[in-house]
Amino acid sequence: MSERTNTVKVLEARGVKKNFGGVVALSNGNLECEQGRITGLLGANGSGKSTISKIIAGVYRPDAGEIRLHGKPVHYRNPNEARQDGIAMVYQNLSLVADLTVWQNIVLGGEDSRGPFLDNRSAKERARQIVDQLLPGLDIRKTIYELAPGQMQIVEIAKAIFAQPKLLILDEPTAALEKAQVKSLFDTMRKLVAGGVAIVFTSHRLWEVLEICDDVTIFRNGENVGNIDFARDGKDAAKIVSHITGEEMKARARKRRQIAQGEPTMRIRNLRYGELLKDVSFELRKGEILGVGGLAGQGQRELLLALAGSYPGSTGDVEVAGRAVRLTRPSTAIRNSLLLVPGNREQEGLFLKHSLFTNIVFPKLGLSRQPLFTPRNRYAEECRTIVSTLSIRTSGLDAPVRTLSGGNQQKVVVGKWLTFETNVLLLADPAKGVDVGAKRDLYDYILRQVHEGRMSVILYASDNEELVDYCDRLLIMYEGEIVATLEGSEINEDAIVAASMRVSRSAHEASS
């Protein structure tokens, strides 16, 4: 490798170990990153990517192993010490403060002072410069809670760049972004790399990794199982996937689309909720997977939440199995077998500190008829069945859900409904931040249920690929309205993008 003799190793992590309460998160983590290069960090959920990233950024302390920065061993006790050494991280769950403004968040922890006071003018200016590169037009005076998820992600990235890092760790920065935003992120990353920054980039989207990375390190079950240098070994997607899953790649599981002729399970007419949902009407047929797509934040999530009864203020006529239903409370929705798998699992789907058992059993206790004393053993048996059906990786039923990896947590959210009679399953971006293997498990299970005629599904996914793969029919939303319906062979990524951006506006207005 003569052309690479003068490269500088910025980061070397060797044999890093970390346990969380009996669950091994990282058994043998090794990661290297060189100046001016982008290293992809790949692996299934729970493979230890986030853990090693957080150890490098000083959030966790390793149980064993060595981390060297520019050849010198480092032992960070908190994120501030790592930051002082030029390490910045974009956190998967974001490190933003909801009540501060965009620019205040970007400079948070690295404020400049003039005398004893904060220098807000220069802070705003520098924040604006960075934001303009990533997302021109974002008002930096807005408060974080006013932003859409994609915008928040951009602010998180801007915040890391503001720290002028020598080593930038990006933990799934693209999961909440649209394609155009990803492109501008990549442009920025290339500029940073040209300026001598070393970048560690984590993503579940393979095409992104193939496009932007110089080499990849792959983790599986807490240790790294492969390093591929694209220049030396070529870009072999199949090889990467087989490293991630530990098995040979299977063909993309495209479902045979069927235009369901069955009678409608659910009829929605004129569903409204403030500015978020304007006059939404559609029908859901029996045994159908109905997709909801469009640009991010056009009311898709709100539509599902409204159907799950989360918005008492929503109005409209809803019919489930021929009976009129008022969906103004989550309990009515659940009693009518409309079950929600929310996208934000940490806030809406789980009791993070409670055990797997409690999380799975809880909806039962609250909503169906219960014997006076809870039959613990029987429920535990049911839980074990659910754990094995969805292949949830856990140290036991008593493990707090917090200790599970993201993908396994999402399975718990689905799992808690398994013992219920399901009419309609509402999936709000169920595979966000879930790895390839877990995603396949999840959708395989849902497809099986649908095929057996046990339920219909409304699926919102931010990833168009999922919509193309699994939907029978697809509604495109724009600013709280349904602007197009795609059916059968019309469902492909180009058509979705075209409809989402309202490329031929008049045609869609005629069709909707």
């Binding site: 948070l108 002072s113 006071f117 709100e302 989360s310």
Partner: protein, 341 residues
């Protein structure tokens, strides 16, 4: 929508706007009930009556914004008055200076103890400060089992300069219009103005809003929480100065009713109990609103038992109203896809 109209809508949709409206309404009602409400004399009397709760509320607001709560605020004020009146000897004017220093030291130490419990030991703030409130009460009763003690003459400077000897007529006339209590409040406002322009001011909001994010951003969250408790201590110290200036004595139970009223006032002033949100200055307005409510109940001429009862009901109504208003407006603002959490 034009730019100006939308910025007007933003201003109206801020919770501060509703608080301001409530304040104006209260002012009007009180002025109708009390004919001489706007006369200098009664304005001064009201400032004196409201000063302690205003100061304690502002301190409480700082702690709540940082994600904590201080249930020991009232007994802390009591203890500070006891320290002041124990160290001071009426005959020795210099002892007043020592008393000030000792009391400030004790106040800050109380802040540090609360801060260590909340920030470093990670005990829930409600538990820490409920426990320390008994520590302060015990210490205060030890120093002063019954109300009393003595204060140097010049301590009147914190209440009524007119009753001091050897003060020029001009100064007396001035303080008859601008009472010392007003200056104590202004000192508090100035203190927070300076702090809010420093790192610590920003970090108090950041830690209160989301301490995990703040930690990941490199902020020493335990230190920030301790600092918030110590800033609160300064406000409590100012309140205690007012009390001793007024009564020339210390009282171990004097601050008891202040604690919960200050928390209520802070919430009425738009401070979110979940932390990270609200303005210390509007907490001051909240304290004014609550004080005016008490005045209105007083004018309604009902028995003391009903006054207390109605006072409690009004606090709940006011808090619920201001929260409903905020929720309603956030729903409109959050139109671009963020749902309430």
């Amino acid at each position: 929508m034009s730019r100006r109209a939308s910025s007007l809508r933003r201003a109206i949709s801020k919770p501060e706007f509703s608080i301001f409206l409530i304040f104006v309404a209260m002012l009007i009602v009180t002025a109708l009930l009390q004919k001489n409400f706007f006369e200098t004399k009664s304005v001064v009397r009201n400032i004196n009556a409201f000063a302690p709760i205003i100061l304690v509320t502002m301190g409480q607001a700082v702690v709540i914004i940082s994600g904590g709560i201080d249930l020991s605020a009232g007994t802390a004020v009591s203890l500070i008055t006891c320290v002041l009146t124990t160290v001071m000897k009426k005959a020795d004017p210099v002892s007043g200076v020592w008393a000030l220093l000792a009391a400030l030291a004790v106040a800050l130490m109380m802040g540090v103890i609360n801060g260590i419990g909340i920030g470093y030991l990670r005990i829930p703030p409600v538990i820490v400060t409920f426990a320390t409130s008994f520590m302060w009460l015990g210490s205060a009763l030890f120093l002063r089992p019954t109300p009393g003690g003595e204060a140097v003459d010049w301590f009147y400077v914190f209440y009524n300069v007119g009753s001091m000897q050897g003060v020029s007529e001009g100064l007396k006339a001035f303080t008859a219009i601008f009472p010392p209590a007003l200056f104590l409040i202004l000192i508090g406002c100035a203190l927070w103005y300076l702090l809010s322009r420093m790192r610590i001011g920003r970090y108090i909001y950041a830690v209160g809003s989301n301490s995990d994010s703040a930690y990941e951003s490199g902020i020493d969250t335990a230190r920030v929480q301790t600092a918030a408790c110590m800033i609160n201590s300064v406000f409590l110290f100012l309140a205690a100065l007012f009390f001793v200036g007024q009564s020339q004595s210390g009282d171990a139970r004097l601050g008891d009713p202040l604690t919960l009223r200050a928390i209520a006032a802070a919430v009425v002033g738009g401070i979110a109990l979940t932390g990270g949100r609200g303005s210390v200055y509007f907490a001051l307005v909240g304290a004014l609103i609550l004080s005016l409510v008490n005045k209105i109940i007083f004018f309604a001429n009902i028995s003391y038992a009903y006054q207390t009862l109605v006072g409690g009901v009004i606090v709940i109504v006011a808090i619920a109203a201001s929260q409903a208003y905020t929720l309603y407006n956030r729903r409109i603002i959050a139109g671009d896809g963020v749902t309430l959490s």
